[in-house]
């Protein structure tokens, strides 16, 4: 009895405390190491200072990139000596979005690099290839890209500079992404030096869809309108304005595009007519706090949920912003700049009842023998606005088509909703970039298109026709 009591008495608390402490510390550390090394393995492998890539490149031939329908967008050709050449069957058409893998990496070649250089074939296949002295085939990547839509967008943009983004608003899949000027991906190695030394504004290697920062012009009125609806939830419908072609506060004035006068307008017709005067008035009527929260919620100046390289959009307001700058902001001019991809995401959220789906380009990774290694599925990213707000904006964007600046999309076999823009990029001239962002069908959106054509003129005349060709191709209309 007594002996048992003695045994139970703790002889030294410090030793117990120290043992438990260090054992716990190791537990936490080892879990951290396992987690960190697993979760960051792709980022670490893709780091240009990591020489281990070379081991994989030597051992495996780079995997193939497919379109959503199984067309080959990029593959590796291995000659007898084992030297690899990367072949891009569609050439310039997919140049930016599929990217390149020599001299650094871009596009899908960059995003899927980890899988393309790794192999998941069976051990027995490896042994068979070893005896033949052939490299193991890397894993293949199936993208979300649609060859037909990409082709239409590519041809529609013709020789112009600009960008097109086509996506499915309900899933976040990117169906097409074009940026011009472009380059020939198969010969990028040979042309690399001249591409880098090219100091002209062409910037052929820049993917304008995700990295090009443009003044959004009138397309930004979607944002201004949303901020106004948030600030005046019950009475925005009562808004009235008489446009005389110019709106002035404290010597600061805003004119309508090409000196037009729109006369008496309400909230929706101001939007449909893309009336700068009215929107300068609307912008100054929004509480700056609400305007700022709206910009924050729409991810201006913030990281976008994208896996590819992109630029952050700029749009800001606070208590110290001058009235003139607020008016410029309201019509998407001044210091405001955004990428076509970002505008496409906001449009998608409107089409998808306020919910932004995470945009993605890679659908599936499969091993060379067809086993699925990883699947990507639609993922809710965040709520950018309420369902009611999205419905109101959709209604206004339908009005743009029915009675406003995008009337070329009226009376088709499908209904569209959208917003045009003619963004002035040079304060000394009236040259403008042509914008259009919109979706169809308006009541059950399936496809969302954002277009910018640099230095073309008005959005209604130059961007909307491109949108029409893409919508026609998608819905099979002629």
């Amino acid at each position: 009895m007594e002996q048992k009591k003695v045994k139970r008495k703790i002889r030294s608390y410090p030793i117990v405390v120290l043992s438990v402490f260090f054992a716990g510390l190791f537990g936490v550390m080892l879990i951290y190491i396992s987690y960190y090394s697993y979760a960051h393995r792709q980022v670490l492998m893709n780091n240009s200072y990591n020489t281990r890539q070379q081991i994989l490149v030597k051992q495996n031939s780079r995997g193939t990139i497919y379109s959503r329908d199984g067309d080959v967008l990029a593959y590796s050709q291995v000659d007898e000596s084992g030297a690899e050449t990367r072949v891009y069957p569609y050439g310039r058409e997919f140049a930016h979005v599929v990217g390149y893998s020599t001299h650094g990496r871009a596009g899908i070649e960059y995003m899927a690099n980890y899988y393309l250089i790794n192999t998941s074939i069976d051990l027995s296949d490896k042994v068979a290839l070893d005896t033949k002295g052939v490299k193991y085939p890397g894993d293949n990547c199936t993208s979300t890209l649609d060859v037909a839509l990409q082709e239409v967008a590519f041809n529609a943009l013709s020789a112009r500079k600009g960008a097109v983004v086509v996506s499915d608003p309900t899933t976040g899949e990117i169906l097409a992404m074009v940026s011009k000027p472009d380059f020939e991906p198969s010969s990028i190695s040979a042309e690399w030096d001249s591409l880098l030394q090219d100091k002209s504004p062409d910037a052929k290697l820049l993917n304008r869809a995700t990295q090009g920062l443009y003044p959004p012009g009138s397309t930004f009125k979607i944002v201004t309108a949303l901020a106004y609806i948030k600030d005046h939830p019950s009475d925005y419908d009562n808004y009235r304005f008489t446009c005389s072609g110019r709106f002035t506060i404290d010597d600061e004035s805003i004119s309508c595009f090409h000196g037009e006068t729109h006369g008496s307008e309400d909230f929706t017709s101001s939007f449909a007519n893309s009336c700068n005067s009215s929107f300068a008035n609307i912008g100054t009527g929004i509480s700056r706090k609400v305007f700022k929260t709206t910009l924050d919620q729409l991810l201006f100046g913030k990281d976008l949920p994208l896996d590819m390289l992109y630029s952050k959009s700029r749009a800001a307001i606070d208590e110290s912003t001058s009235v003139g700058d607020v008016m410029q902001l309201s019509i998407g001019q001044g210091a405001t700049a955004m990428t076509p991809m970002h505008l496409n995401m906001i449009t998608c959220a409107i089409a998808n009842k306020g919910v932004l789906m995470k945009p993605y380009l890679i659908q599936q990774i499969k091993s060379a023998d067809g086993r699925v290694i990883k699947s990507y599925s639609p993922e809710v990213c965040r709520h950018l606005m309420t369902q009611e707000q999205a419905a109101t904006l959709t209604g206004m964007m339908e009005a743009v088509v029915e009675q406003g600046t995008a009337s070329r999309l009226k009376g088709l076999s499908y209904t569209c909703a959208g917003k045009t823009g003619s963004a002035e990029f040079n304060s000394s001239s009236s040259d403008s970039h042509a914008w259009f962002t919109g979706f169809a069908p308006a009541d059950d959106p399936k496809i969302c298109v954002t277009i910018i054509v640099e230095n073309a003129g008005s959005g209604g005349s130059f961007a909307v026709p491109i949108a029409k060709r893409i919508f026609d191709a998608y819905f099979g209309a002629e």
Partner: protein, 450 residues
């Protein structure tokens, strides 16, 4: 064929390492060495299975017969160490000696892969260390006059590291080595043992707060010399030894917290005043921004750990040589890369089980002096392991200490083997204590009967 061998052996290695580690922790279920015997024998089988599969991998990949001979020599040495130890010291703790041999086996495997010359050199040092080390348990057990030289240890230790600070060679930004007759020593490793003996003796004598203060001053001198030598890792280890021994000896948590408080103040001071400390902290917080310079080591180490995946790239499958000082400071990353994260985590758990076994011995021994030494060794061992693994994995800032028994480095492996042998000696003293207590009880009950 070669591919089958290397691919399958990856999983075999991990499996045997798992079994080994499991057996190690199962020993804690039993109180006596006798009952643990079966576990120990299974551990030894697993150990040689790991060694065998690794060397099959090495030979399959390199095709060099020289590795076969090296492997046979290793088996002979490790098998004799294990057998001799059991024969000479049946009362010693076999988990500690098993684990030490397991870590040395891993060390020889990964060093063979990284640099054959270094592996051979290390192998000779390990053999010599065991030859010397075998006398230590007996010395500890027989001669308790070692308790009397408390202040001599302190003076000798401080003088040795002080001399290094004054005359030592500058290596890797830290003045930490002596070179005598072509052999380079790292005195701070050896002084660690002297410091442990000093702390244990001084704390046993220290009855009042005045004496405790004197001990603290002497400890502080050691730590300050090491900080000035830029040997941050050792300075931290000495500080932690000091703190834990004061805590174990006084059993007062407030002393531990006071010490940590002063330690925190000293760290902030050091951070503000030493540029090289700020560089280390910055490299810890974000190694990738300045990857070409200050962040290079840590990011290469992280590339290594993560590229191996759960079961590793197989020996010779990765490129651990791209990590600077891989044999010393980043051996853990090399192991993770080629033998897998699973294996390296299990190896760290083997270290933890060694630590827990040492602390358990410290817990049960009655003699205060030996308790302090055993626990001091346990904490010094596990803390150094923590510093090197954590530093290379970006869990804590890098301090540049070796992984005991596994890293390349003669002084480090010799001192660690000595420390483990000291623990074994103290295990024998504990067994003796228990035996004597039983004897006393028997005599008492015998006296009552008569």
């Amino acid at each position: 064929m070669e591919l089958y061998v290397t691919e399958i052996s990856k999983y075999v290695i991990a499996l045997f390492m798992f079994l080994y580690t499991l057996e190690g922790f199962l020993t804690f279920r039993f109180t006596t060495e006798k009952k643990r015997r079966g576990l120990y024998i299974r551990q030894i089988i697993c150990m040689f299975a790991v060694q065998l599969s690794c060397f099959i991998q090495i030979i399959a990949r390199t095709g060099k017969p020289v590795y076969l001979f090296f492997f046979i020599f290793q088996i002979i040495i490790f098998a004799s160490v294990l057998m001799l130890f059991y024969a000479i010291y049946p009362d010693g703790n076999r988990l500690i000696i098993n684990n030490s041999c397991m870590l040395l086996v891993i060390s020889m495997i990964i060093l063979s892969r990284l640099s054959y010359d270094k592996a051979v050199k290390q192998f000779f040092i390990v053999t010599a260390s065991f030859l010397i080390g075998f006398f230590i348990p007996e010395i500890i057990f027989r001669f308790d006059f070692i308790k009397k030289f408390t202040w001599v240890y302190a003076a000798a230790g401080a003088a040795a590291i002080g001399a290094v600070l004054l005359h030592g060679a500058v290596t890797n930004g830290s003045k930490i080595t002596y070179t005598i007759a072509g052999i380079t020593f790292q005195p701070s490793e050896a002084v660690k043992v002297l410091f442990l003996f000093f702390m244990a003796g001084a704390l046993c004598e220290a009855k009042d707060i005045r004496r405790l203060f004197i001990v603290s001053v002497v400890a502080a001198i050691h730590v300050i010399i090491l900080v000035l030598s830029r040997d941050l890792g050792s300075a931290l280890i000495f500080f932690v030894i000091y703190l834990t021994l004061v805590y174990i000896s006084t059993e007062k948590l407030q002393y531990l917290f006071t010490g940590l408080f002063f330690g925190a103040i000293a760290s902030i001071f050091a951070y503000r005043h030493f540029y090289h400390i700020r560089v280390r902290v910055r490299a810890f917080l974000d190694p990738f921004t300045d990857i070409a310079a200050s962040g290079y080591q840590v990011s290469q180490s992280l590339f290594g750990i993560s590229s191996g995946g759960w079961f590793g790239l197989g020996l010779y499958g990765g490129s651990p040589r791209s990590i600077p000082f891989v044999e010393q400071d980043f051996i853990f990353s090399a192991i993770a890369e080629e033998m897998g994260v699973v294996f390296s985590v299990l190896m760290a758990l083997v270290c933890v089980s060694t630590f827990l076994m040492i602390m358990r011995e410290g817990y049960y021994i009655r003699d205060r002096y030996y308790r302090l030494i055993v626990c001091g060794i346990g904490v010094a061992y596990i803390f150094q392991t923590f510093l090197t693994i954590g530093g290379g994995a970006k869990f804590i800032p890098l301090t540049g200490v070796t992984l005991p028994l596994v890293s390349y480095g003669g002084t480090s492996v010799f001192v660690t083997i000595v420390m483990m042998m000291v623990v074994e000696g103290i295990c024998m003293i504990r067994t003796d204590e228990r035996f004597k207590a039983m004897e006393r009880r028997r005599q008492q009950s015998g006296a009552k009967e008569s």
